[in-house]
Symmetry: D2
Subunit: 122 residues, 4 copies
């Protein structure tokens, strides 16, 4: 895949969205990428990430990146989650970075410092 970023540099969100769009267009996958399907795919990939951890103790979970095969699997699922999140956002014209910045502002007000644990936050 050719883009115009420097070799060895990590692209930013906008560049990744561009590459995802080109990838899907070249394979005529746009027809599958409806908002509803992408939301389903995002949740499926997030569960695949969770699957890696489901039987691990907290100690095993914290050490997961020390084993190369598992570390690769974690990075692979992180990539899938981010890919579907970015494609979902493109489908509905949502800016994920602006959405998160706004949410952090709201949470500053909702959860004052020194307040409750996150048990019932959502």
């Amino acid at each position: 895949m050719s883009d115009h970023s420097e070799p060895g540099t990590v692209p930013d969100i906008a560049a990744l969205q561009q590459r995802l769009r080109a990838f899907a267009a070249a394979r005529d996958w746009g027809q599958y990428h409806t908002p509803k399907n992408l939301a389903a795919a995002l949740s499926v990939e997030a569960s695949e990430l969770l699957e890696i951890f489901q039987w691990l103790t907290p100690e095993q979970a914290a050490a997961v990146m020390r084993e190369p095969a598992r570390a690769h699997r974690v990075e692979d699922e992180v990539a899938d989650v981010l890919a579907y999140l970015l494609q979902f956002c493109m489908a509905l014209d949502v800016d994920p970075l602006a959405a998160l910045a706004a949410k952090i502002e709201r949470n500053e007000l909702r959860f004052p410092v020194g307040g409750t644990p996150p048990l019932d936050a959502s």
Copy 2:
């Protein structure tokens, strides 16, 4: 929350991670943010995004941003998914942008142009 970005500009991933880290530290929530808990929370938030769409027809789903209350809910859940993804990545020192760039490279090889539909891709 005070950071040093220009007013009105959207922060990048690194700035958002910094703000998420400060937010959790100020509330002593770091103890909850183990990799396993964050993977669970990420999958829960992705399902909350899917919940918005679960009973909608494709047409209703495509129009979801035209209704302000639903649009806000979509942006809110996108923010939560991204927040937990970034916090998970901080906990395990994974670079989500590099992981996605590498995955796109691999998928270029796995799914040649003109090949199969994504039905069994994962």
Copy 3:
């Protein structure tokens, strides 16, 4: 809702499926209950069950039924998961009890006694 079971007795799976079917029919909800929508709803409800546990330590999780409000929430989400599983199975004419019996037989062969932990079983 009137059925013909004895008061105070717990209905079996077939009776519950009958009641779910009547409930949906009376509200004209059958149009929403496609296999794909029901699979999405099932996964959303399973995540709502997980949400109760996401920040809990193993000790807190084991004690969850001792607190009435949380115990009620657990039972409520268990009911939702079972409801959508049974409705999904009705939509596709799958017998969930027969499917599980067959799966246990297969797993007896796949995972011999004294073998591996379930880390990679799925």
Copy 4:
């Protein structure tokens, strides 16, 4: 696996729970089957069921049992969802059939006949 049900008959929920318990005990898997882990596993399996449908049109989804390989996969994931639901219920001493019967009673009151669509019901 030997139990005392008649050959060819489908066991009921109690018999399946008994078999699941014996299966886990023989493999010393009880240590993994904490309520939190089982809730995570249940949500992971529900997502694997959803994965089968994520790119399908409603028509393809409705025809999924006509293709033997996909039909088998559906039954396999239904079995996994039910298995983890039953094991979760055993771990916390919840009766899933009673929970669903009680929930249907509550929903009769919450959603009167002739009322709203299920869009915001949960």
